[in-house]
């Protein structure tokens, strides 16, 4: 046996580690939570790591999973060893080809991080609904329970597939296994060579298509032969279970690690048996061992080979004493007699004519916790004389009463295991530091280590909770920590609302990052926290980590500092050894990033030890500060009962009725709820200086979170204003005599400072000050909170009085998209907000999956809101790939409603009045004034309809609002528009419907972590383009222009904001399809987003991002339809590129390549501009010519 190499890694890396070495080709497409497998493979191929045969696997990213599996199919048919990685909807897109691959008896293993399939809502988390949707494809299905197993079975699956020719889907639980860090003994190349026999690989290749030995596959068959031919595969499938068993036995001989297709654990004479697969099997088996150890006659069968389901082998694993069986499924199949595994077990027992009472239960959907207490509840249920035939566990179903009661105090964890809980922010490095700690302990000591990380759904200021376990025995606990011996809170503000000590065990160590001197810490924390420290007898340590970070040049990254604290006081390792190990890890992690990075981290470690203090805990709580929680006065009932519970991180406690009684079982959710979140995440927020302000409203325009807003209003509205409320005379003639206020929303601002960056007005006596300046939030929060509350009560401007839309006036319109969870400084959301300001009260949004659907619709709160009339954007997300088609469907339906209303109106014209009806049917609805007049006509119509008693009148009353023009917009990122959804988008552009498309172009898959799209520019590094993308960005605008019936605009608000406003209004007014491609700076570009606007300007000035509008209406005016709105290039494209890490890192990796790519990019930019210039001079003949 080769030398053992034990590492600490997550399930994705563990699987990729095998798959990369066993593949010649991998064709992939990013989707959470499987993306990292492809990314690892791409990184390794970019680093020229080879497969078992000495080749560097070719990793190709496609435009969708449907595309990926198509190419996989092709590669397999050529006889290559090929793999892919996917999850959820991505897997579903592969299904058609999976039938083909299986039907053609193709040796192949795909690796699936199993994830929830979107139903009433999308969920990125783990369950088996995706893999279960593939049962009919003919793929064998092999489930892994943990990181090590996923690593091992990745190889076993290929061995079996090569032997049997049946393709395998190897799956493991998304997030719980794919993202859990645990110890893993790596298979060596020698071991893999022994496992995967060359003759099998040769045979696979020999089956490939080649003109040297021509074959034909994929024929069409008729009723005469298809059926028989289909049955011809049976023998191949019959072999699979025994080959799996053989290969698992051979694997055990080679590695010492033993698996079975169906593995029994528990009492030899068990009477009650639970059947389960996936990570839940670890929880079940550990609980069974614990309870069986106490004499309970219980057991469990871990199902690894789910397809083909080997009845005999399965039943052989079951003790003959078994009387009662509970089958656990991590999926839901509404309307079925039972979930898939349950149905198979029933069928197996029936086929073997074995009798036992079988009940079936669902657990763990969307990574819902599944704990030993829940396992015990299942066994307890089985012990009842009449257990529930169908049940759920892990939730409280108070509607259909299927759920089991769980005693949450039941705990099987060894007291010897160190359990540590860390509360941090996404951006503070807590997760990274903890991953590092796990690697240090897992790889440098004999201890076993496990790490799992829980995130909230926000992209800015997201709270992360890290669950770390360390112990002498292997850690098999795929559930969260409930009793922690160490709790660290890395962000002081969490104490205000979150009960961070809820899971602290008595006598635990509590570490707090507190921005105070050690003497002041105790009285600065809320009384509730003090009380828990006293009651639980916690040891309390504090450090001002942000001060240490600042002093050591680490900025806001407190990862190294808090990690050092953990090692210094947790006692996991001797202090000196731990510090040495941290420094070694720093050198390893940051060594390639340069000496300075290492030096500063070392300094941070040293400074930490000098600034970490144990706080003396008094006998009684003394704080005058109380926790505020999430509930606020004035919250709507639903928000109070449901949303605020979710905001507090206690959504697990909500019963089924919370989602049933409110008529939202279909996934409908109230709008306008971000206003109740008040996240208070900014360190500094802007403060207005009226004397310096020129009232341009640019600050409001660029604000990604609608957290700084202007209002123009009558002076009388100031009655009752707080004394601190600032108001000044409005300066321009359009609303002469009125007052003006610019107000920050202090608790909603994320502190990005884009507003200050864009402010053009400097204080003449002190030019470093502008009309708005950043101040520490805590200094002005309370005052500004009162001011903002008053500000919101001031009436909004009369929209019909806005004569001509421009940047300044657009900002007086109420944003109906506010306080989203988008990144601080996001470059997309200003466009979305503008959309809601311009057309929000009649806006229909079809949103492709991606960042905009996450900050737009990820619970607990949503940012789309309503105006005082209760009108606002209506929003829906269907899928990633179908957004254009879905939005078109919305349009088709809405236009039919409008036509119906018009028909009814025509029918009732004589009764409602000819003038009113004619106005309603024919008046222009362009511009705010006309829309307001149409709304007035609709109101008049409703008044008239009150006096008409007929079914038509009733129906028209219901449908009258459809007489007001709806503005239908398709929103999505470049991943959707350029790649996966391009086919649909292209088709919609070719149709004559009045539909608008806004592409928020970040030039990369931002939501899934920066994978290359066809929008990614040449020379930019992205995942799947690690050495810099070698081809040009697709010119989507030019392609759309080729239809000549579509309005097309390219905008960049940071370069020319008024151009953006013009393009939006023109696109909306154009009566056909419109496409706006909007430059959106993004965290994935790799720079401080506060200079995002400067980068946008540089992009335009250098010609990289030309501004233009193509308006087909101009043709009839005898003008060229294409207008170039940006001047000739006046900046260097390379200067633009060098400011962004995505380009700069290519230069740092390979300067020669960067030179070639940047020169290519400059050349292509020039060529593109030249082409546009030519096009802009083409005047088409008008109809009258």
């Amino acid at each position: 046996m080769a030398d053992k190499k034990v590492v600490t890694m997550d399930g994705n890396e563990a699987v990729a580690h095998v798959a990369h070495r066993l593949s010649e080709v991998a064709v992939i497409y990013p989707i959470t939570p499987s993306s990292p497998m492809g990314e690892f493979a791409d990184d390794w191929s970019a680093a020229r790591k080879t497969n078992l045969w000495g080749g560097i696997p070719q990793i190709v990213e496609m435009q969708s999973e449907a595309g990926a599996i198509g190419s996989v199919h092709g590669a397999l048919q050529s006889g290559a060893l090929c793999t892919t990685f996917t999850s959820s909807q991505g897997l579903l897109l592969m299904i058609p080809n999976m039938f083909k691959i299986a039907g053609e008896l193709t040796s192949f293993v795909m690796h699936v991080a199993a994830r929830c399939v979107a139903t009433h809502a999308l969920s990125i988390f783990g369950d088996h609904s995706d893999v279960m949707a593939c049962r009919a494809t003919g793929f064998a299905m092999l489930a892994s329970t943990c990181v090590q197993e996923a690593h091992d079975q990745a190889a076993i699956a290929l061995a079996v597939s090569l032997r049997t020719r049946v393709p395998f889907m190897h799956f493991f639980d998304g997030f719980r296994t794919s993202h859990e860090l645990n110890r893993c003994e790596l298979l060596s190349d020698e071991q893999l060579r022994e496992l995967i026999k060359q003759e099998w690989v040769d045979a696979h290749r020999a089956r490939g298509l080649t003109p040297d030995k021509p074959k034909i596959r994929g024929t069409a068959q008729n009723p005469d032969t298809f059926f028989q031919a289909r049955e011809a595969c049976n023998t191949f499938y019959e072999r699979v279970p025994s080959v799996v068993k053989e290969e698992m036995e051979r694997f055990a001989k080679i590695t010492g690690r033993r698996y079975l297709p169906y593995e029994y654990v528990g009492h030899a004479q068990a009477e009650r048996v639970v059947i389960v697969m996936g990570s839940g099997a670890e929880t079940v088996s550990e609980t069974v061992r614990y309870l069986a150890g106490k004499g309970e006659k219980i057991g469990a069968i871990i199902v690894r080979l789910f397809r083909p389901f080997a009845v005999e082998m399965f039943l052989a694993a079951m003790p003959t004493t078994t009387k009662k069986i509970a089958v656990l499924d991590r999926t839901k199949e509404p309307g079925a007699t039972g979930e898939p595994l349950y149905a198979d077990v029933i069928a197996a027992l029936y086929q073997a004519q074995r009798s036992a009472e079988v009940i079936g239960g669902r657990y763990g959907l969307s990574s819902k916790e599944f704990t030993p207490a829940m396992v015990k509840a299942v066994f307890d249920e089985l012990a009842k004389p009449s257990p529930k035939k169908r049940f759920t566990v892990g939730i409280n179903d108070d509607v259909t009463h299927l759920s089991l009661t769980v005693d949450n105090s039941f705990d099987i964890e060894s007291p010897d295991t160190v359990r540590a809980l860390f509360f941090g922010l996404g951006a503070d490095g807590t997760v990274g530091a903890n991953k590092n700690s796990i690697k240090i302990i897992g790889e440098d000591t004999d201890l076993h280590a496990q790490g799992y990380f829980v995130y909230d759904s926000k992209k800015s200021g997201a709270m992360t909770t890290s669950h770390l376990r360390f112990g002498k025995a292997p850690i098999k606990a795929p559930y969260l920590i409930k009793q922690a011996s160490f709790v660290a809170c890395h962000q002081f503000q969490f104490l205000e609302k979150i009960d961070v000590l809820e899971s602290a065990a008595p006598g635990a160590v509590f570490l707090l990052n507190a921005p105070f001197a050690k003497e002041a810490v105790w009285d600065s924390i809320p009384r509730e926290i003090q009380q828990q420290i006293i009651t639980k007898k916690l040891r309390f340590f504090a450090i001002d980590a942000n001060a240490v970070a600042k002093a050591t040049g680490m900025g806001t990254r407190i990862n190294t500092i808090m990690q050092t604290c953990f090692f210094a006081i947790s006692g996991v390792l001797p202090r000196e050894q731990a510090i040495e190990a941290i420094k070694k890890a720093i050198k390893k992690t940051y060594g390639k990033r340069g000496e300075e990075v290492v030096r500063r981290n070392f300094e941070a470690v040293d400074q930490t030890l000098q600034n970490l203090h144990e706080i003396t805990v008094p006998a009684a709580a003394t704080s005058k500060i109380a926790q505020t929680g999430f509930e606020q006065p004035g919250m709507p009932d639903f928000v109070k009962r449901v949303t605020s519970v979710m905001m507090a991180g206690k959504g697990d406690l909500l019963p089924v009725s919370a989602f049933h009684a409110n008529n939202n079982a279909d996934g409908t959710w109230p709008v306008g709820t971000t206003q109740y979140e008040k996240r208070n995440i900014a360190i500094d927020i802007p403060e207005w200086d009226p004397a310096t302000c020129i009232q341009c409203n640019k600050c409001s325009f660029v604000c990604p979170h609608a957290s700084i807003r202007p209002k123009v209003y009558e002076a009388s509205a100031l009655a009752g204003a707080p004394a601190t409320f600032k108001s000044t005379a409005y300066k321009a003639p359009d609303f002469k005599g009125m007052n003006f206020t610019l107000q920050v929303a202090p608790e909603d601002c994320t502190g990005c400072s884009l507003c200050v960056q864009v402010c053009p007005s400097k204080n003449k006596a002190d030019p470093k000050r502008k009309a708005i300046n950043m101040r520490p939030r805590m200094e002005i929060r309370d005052v500004e909170r009162a001011n903002y509350a008053f500000f919101l009560g001031i009436p909004e401007v009369d929209r019909s009085k806005i004569a001509k839309m421009n940047v300044k006036l657009s900002q007086f319109l109420q944003p109906l998209f506010e306080y989203s969870g988008a990144c601080a400084g996001c470059g997309e959301t200003p466009y979305v907000k503008l959309l809601t300001q311009l057309f929000g009260d009649r806006l229909v949004i079809s949103n492709a999956t991606g960042c905009s659907s996450i900050y737009g619709g990820n619970l607990p709160t949503t940012p789309y809101t309503t105006n005082r009339d209760g009108r606002g954007p209506t929003w829906a997300n269907s899928l990633f790939e179908d957004n254009a088609e879905f939005g078109l469907g919305l349009l088709l339906g809405i236009s039919e409603h409008k036509k119906q209303a018009e028909r009814l109106l025509k029918e009732l014209t004589s009764q409602v009045g000819d003038t009113l009806a004619t106005g309603l049917l024919t008046a222009s609805q362009q511009g705010e004034k006309n829309v307001a007049e149409q709304r007035a006509r609709v109101a008049a119509l409703r008044t008239a309809l009150k006096n008409i008693k007929s079914p038509s009148a009733t129906m028209l009353n219901d449908m009258a609002d459809y007489l007001v023009k709806k503005s239908i917009w398709l929103l999505g990122g470049d991943g959707w528009a350029y790649d996966i959804g391009y086919g649909g988008l292209d088709h919609v552009l070719s149709l004559p419907f009045d539909i608008n498309i806004l592409v928020l172009d970040t030039e990369v898959y931002s939501n899934t972590g920066g994978q290359a799209s066809k929008s990614t520019p040449m020379g930019a590094a992205a995942k799947f383009a690690a050495s810099g993308k070698g081809t040009q960005k697709k010119d989507l605008g030019l392609m759309a222009m080729s239809y000549r019936n579509a309005y097309v605009a390219s905008v960049a608000f940071g370069s020319n904001d008024n151009h953006t406003v013009t393009a939006f209004t023109e696109a909306e007014s154009y009566p056909g399809p419109s496409l706006i491609i909007a430059y959106s700076h993004c965290i994935a570009h790799g720079y401080d987003l506060k200079i995002g606007l400067d980068q946008q300007k540089l992009a335009v000035d250098s010609g990289v991002w030309p501004l233009y509008r193509y308006d087909p209406r101009l043709v009839s005016q005898g003008k060229a339809p294409l207008q170039i709105d940006s001047g000739p290039a006046k900046a260097n494209a390379r200067d633009y590129m060098r400011n962004e890490t995505r380009f700069a890192m290519v230069e740092k990796i390979d300067a020669e390549r960067f030179k070639i790519l940047s020169e290519g990019s400059v050349r292509n930019t020039a060529e593109r501009l030249a082409l546009y210039k030519e096009l802009s001079q083409i005047v088409f003949p008008t109809k009258t010519d």
């Binding site: 970019a46 997760v431 900025g555 990033r593 965290i1083 790799g1086 890490t1141």
Partner: protein, 331 residues
């Protein structure tokens, strides 16, 4: 006419060296300079601060969003090897050394004591023939004395001297109160060459945008005179070669620098405006000037107007002030 000289221990066929500037980092331009008769090159400075900032910026960009959301645990690929720090500069030294036969002086601006030493070591290992330390101090601190600032510089020089065997030159700022004494201490610390003087960015005020703009304008011959004065003041009095840089454009400028006591002149602006061939032109002009003025060699002229030899040393010492006043006295 023998216009050869020596600098930092190297025998040079002419005294006209291309000074630290971007063309000296470009291989094609370097070849052209050698062809035009450059006897030695000074590479553009490598700034440790820039790399430190760049490292931290790249690190922040890569690590900042780590763990931002469950879907995006990172935003960039993880290459095995980054070329941060001075690696590119080091590579360029190697390439230039392979491209030309003339000696190459690398130029370094460090930020931390460790940085000076580690960069200098890498530069030596890469094969540079000499090292010019491009000293810049933050002089705005209200609490720091000039002596403390000078001591810091000396510490750097001593540390570098200890770490490398390369000939060392120091490029100085004009703004020392006790320049000769400081220079003397530098020489005692092991410096073999002094470059007079650095030209720094001069901030200008944008009166419309209420901002400060920085730009480096090309030099003119007017800037030469303070350099002449200090070269004359130091020549023969400190045991180090003197290089004049900043304002050397014409043959007269070269002559003045040598009369003051320079061993070489470094030229940037003149070459940027007139091209590499100007080197050859100027060398020819220098030889011709020496012939016309019946000098035997350049060496004969060097230092002839230094403080030690000039008939009117007070003119240098008192900055010409007295003489001008005398000129206004009634006859």
């Amino acid at each position: 006419m023998d216009i050869s000289t020596s600098y930092l221990g190297f025998k040079l066929s002419t005294p006209l060296i291309p000074g630290a500037s971007p063309p000296c980092n470009d291989l094609a331009a370097v070849r052209e300079l050698e062809d035009a008769g450059a006897p030695m090159l000074t590479m553009h400075s490598v700034f440790q601060e820039q790399f430190d900032l760049e490292e931290m910026a790249v690190n922040r960009s890569l690590d900042g969003p780590l763990g931002n959301s469950p879907e995006a645990l990172s935003y960039f690929p993880s290459p095995e090897q980054f070329r941060l720090g001075p690696e590119e500069y080091i590579d360029q030294i190697i390439k230039i050394k392979k491209t030309v036969k003339i000696p190459v002086i690398a130029s370094l601006n460090g930020r931390t004591p460790g940085g000076w030493v580690s960069y200098a070591t890498k530069i030596e290992q890469a094969g540079a023939d000499a090292l010019e330390l491009n000293i810049y101090n933050n002089v705005f601190d209200l609490e720091r004395s000039s002596e403390a600032i000078e001591n810091d510089t000396l510490d750097v020089v001593r540390a570098v001297r200890q770490a490398v065997k390369l000939p060392l030159a120091v490029k100085l700022s004009r703004n020392y109160t006790g320049l000769p004494q400081f220079v003397n201490r530098l020489v005692k610390a092991g410096v073999q060459g002094l470059v007079l003087f650095n030209r720094f960015y001069q901030p200008d005020i944008d009166i419309e945008d209420l901002d400060v703009r920085r730009e480096l304008k090309l030099s003119t011959s007017d800037e030469l005179l303070p350099r002449i004065r200090w070269t004359a003041a130091l020549a023969g009095r400190v045991k180090a070669d003197l290089a004049v840089t900043g304002g050397v454009h014409s043959v007269e400028d070269v002559v003045k620098a040598f009369m003051a006591g320079a061993s070489v002149v470094q030229m940037v602006s003149a070459l940027l405006t007139r091209g590499p061939q100007y080197l050859k032109h100027l060398a020819d002009r220098l030889a011709k000037w020496l012939e016309e003025h019946e000098y035997e060699s350049l060496a004969q002229m060097r230092g002839s107007m230094s403080l030690l030899k000039t008939p009117h040393p007070e003119a240098f010492e008192r900055g010409n002030y007295v003489k001008i006043l005398h000129a206004w006295e009634p006859a």
